[in-house]
């Protein structure tokens, strides 16, 4: 079975995000970029499946500028076998990503697509679900445990209020959650091996997809700073404030 893992290049989780002065987006110039942490978890899962003999090939795919090749290289250094870069310099919305991934999936025929549940830049949490619908494949989202059988997978999902275990027929789309695993470091020998692994470059047009945005960003602004709280003397005052000022109780 092939495993397809989409990996996104995002602003590193350690970087303090700054809004651009013209409010068109967040600052990405001279900012450290890394693989989306949820995608790292997906790569780790795929590599573990390969090590366990459940997968023959792990393919990392990224949609983005030329530099997204570095993100693919990270996946290759973790143990993925080859990469596909769908090069596109502009913004790509979740639906366009899902369409591109659908085209890649139809060409590659993976048994499972492992996505991060969301990317830490826009936190859209849409791509896996849209991809599943476009392909007509079952989906298992927010997966914290995954067992792959011959023609079906058993997935434990993190849902509101606890865990839910479901079975999905393969091929399927899974989106992985934080607790699925702890991604490995790329070792030096694997980094050196990754250098020789192939990365195919394609364009959205090659895959018959028009990635033009359908949404317009009006303005990006920082959340308003939190106001200082107030101290209350006793429970009676607290209840009064909640009722009369905050109006959260009747």
């Amino acid at each position: 079975m092939k495993v397809l893992v989409p990996v996104k290049r995002v602003v590193d989780y350690n970087v303090k995000i700054r809004v651009k002065a013209d409010q068109t987006g967040v600052e990405t110039a001279n900012v450290k970029m890394s693989m989306n942490p949820f995608d790292e978890i997906a790569v780790e899962q795929a590599v573990r499946m390969k090590e366990a003999g459940q997968a023959e090939e792990v393919i990392a795919v990224s949609i983005g500028p030329q530099q997204a090749q570095e993100t693919i290289r990270t996946a290759l250094a973790m143990g993925a076998d080859r990469g596909i870069l769908v090069q596109h310099d502009g913004e790509v919305e979740p639906l366009a990503v899902a369409k591109i991934l659908k085209a890649v999936a139809e060409a590659e025929g993976p048994g499972v697509i492992l996505c991060g549940k969301q990317a830490i830049d826009d936190d859209a949490n849409q791509t896996a679900q849209m991809l599943s619908a476009l392909l007509g494949w079952p989906q298992a989202t927010f997966v914290s445990k995954l067992e792959i059988g011959s023609d079906e997978a058993t997935a434990t999902r993190e849902v509101d209020g606890g865990l839910e275990t479901i079975k999905v027929k393969l091929p399927a789309v899974c989106s992985v959650d934080l607790r699925l695993n702890e991604p490995r470091y790329a070792s030096l020998p694997n980094i050196m091996k990754a250098k020789k692994k192939p990365i195919d470059t394609k364009s959205p047009a090659d895959l018959g997809v028009d990635p033009a945005p359908r949404l317009t960003t009006v303005k990006v602004a920082e959340p308003p700073p939190r106001q200082a709280g107030v101290k209350v003397a006793d429970v009676a005052e607290l209840v009064a404030k909640l009722r009369d000022e905050a109006k959260v109780i009747g």
Binding site: Q69, Y185, A186, S187, I191, K195
Partner: protein, 386 residues
């Protein structure tokens, strides 16, 4: 000129930084407080270092090393250099000079050192022979096919961890343009060899948990098969194989500068006095600018020298400039970092007082700042006959 960092180098740095944060930083406080590192911890870090291929990363692949070039090793040493010396050393790089091993020496020393089964230490300095290396009194007298060694070495780092010593000893005298000078031979001496004993060295200001030792040799008999390289050619062996150890020191300093500057930026951007962030005071912000400038210069000099080393065109002066600049940059940056932090800077809760203390040795070992200036000035003046 191409100053870009390759994808592989970026990944190696990322792995090394994560290793430092997850495997070394958590133990720094304990090592600093106890002035010791437990054998269990050494073993734990070493195993992880081997798994990740950080161990012996600079040794050639056919010896079981990682085969990294000097430039990439400098980047790796920079990342690892953030942690304190004792923890940094557990990640381990065997002395490059072991590449001079031939025949059975490879199986006995070089390969086990790359695999992590044996650790070396390097013994050159003596109480009467510091910068004046050739002034060494430790003497190896030939006796048939053996040598009998007598003398004392001191300031020998991590000799307690070492399974064998790479020892430099005088084996005679020869005439030179400036009169008689000693001929030096390099020996491989196993710990436990009769006549070789080890005692603790000096307590010192730097490097908690990473200790120096005094090595005594008293009629210590060593067969000729333990000579590394050729007899009387000890300096040739060092020149041919020792590698860019001065750049290693420079790189370690860069890592410490990185850490001190990061702490300083974070502190300046968050600490408030007189109703504003202290970074708003020019007295603080200009210090940060100077620190960054010194660090950048040290980085470029180090990487350029390393690149030249890899391209076989590094001169002694290049390494001397890089080492001199990086060690002095560290002294400056560590001191300014503390000044920016004020009283908090000298408290052991932050790594700054440790970086500041540890910085002092960097301007002394691997050739003092004065020796480096001597090398640079001689390279400039010799062609002028001055």
């Amino acid at each position: 000129m191409d100053f870009s960092v390759t994808e592989e180098q970026k990944l190696i740095i990322e792995t090394a930084l994560r290793f430092v944060e997850e495997e070394l930083y958590p133990y720094e406080e304990e090592v600093e407080r106890t002035d010791a590192i437990t054998p269990e911890l050494v073993e734990q870090i070493k195993q992880k270092s081997i798994e990740l291929g950080l161990y012996a990363a600079g040794m050639p692949e056919d010896c079981g090393g990682g085969g990294l070039d000097t430039l990439t090793m400098c980047m790796l040493d920079r990342a690892l250099g953030r942690a304190n010396m004792a923890l940094n050393y557990t990640v381990y790089r065997p002395s490059n000079v072991l590449q001079a091993c031939v025949g059975e020496q490879r199986e006995k020393y070089l390969l086990p050192a790359c695999r992590g089964e044996k650790v070396d230490c390097f013994a050159m300095t003596e109480p009467g022979a510091g910068s004046d290396v050739r002034g060494m009194k430790t003497f190896a007298k030939r006796d048939g096919s053996d040598f009998i060694i007598n003398g004392t070495k001191h300031f020998i780092s991590h000799a307690d961890w070492a399974d064998f010593v790479i020892l430099m000893a005088a084996t005679g005298e020869e005439d030179s343009a400036r009169g008689k000078r000693k001929k030096i031979t390099t020996f491989l001496v196993d710990k436990g060899t009769p006549g070789f004993t080890l005692r603790p060295g000096y307590k010192n200001v730097s490097h908690r948990g990473y200790h120096n030792f005094i090595l005594d040799f008293e009629d210590c008999r060593i067969p000729e098969s333990q000579v590394l390289g050729e007899v009387d050619k000890g300096f040739d062996v060092a020149n041919d194989w020792l590698g860019a150890t001065r750049l290693q020191v420079a790189s370690l300093c860069l890592g410490r500068c990185d850490r001190a500057l990061e702490h300083s930026l974070d502190w300046a951007a968050n600490r408030e006095q007189f109703g504003q962030k202290i970074a708003k005071f020019q007295g603080v912000s200009f210090k940060l600018a100077d620190m960054k400038m010194r660090l950048k210069a040290a980085e470029l000099l180090t990487y350029e020298a390393a690149w030249k080393y890899d391209n076989n065109c590094m001169e002694d002066m290049d390494a001397a400039i890089a080492k001199l600049n990086a060690t002095e940059a560290l002294a400056f940056i560590a001191d300014e970092a503390i000044q920016i932090h004020g009283g908090m800077g000298v408290m052991s809760e932050l790594p700054l007082e440790r970086i500041w203390r540890d910085a002092r040795i960097e301007r002394i070992w691997e050739g003092t700042s004065e020796i480096q200036r001597h090398i640079i000035s001689r390279a400039l003046l010799r062609p002028l006959g001055a």
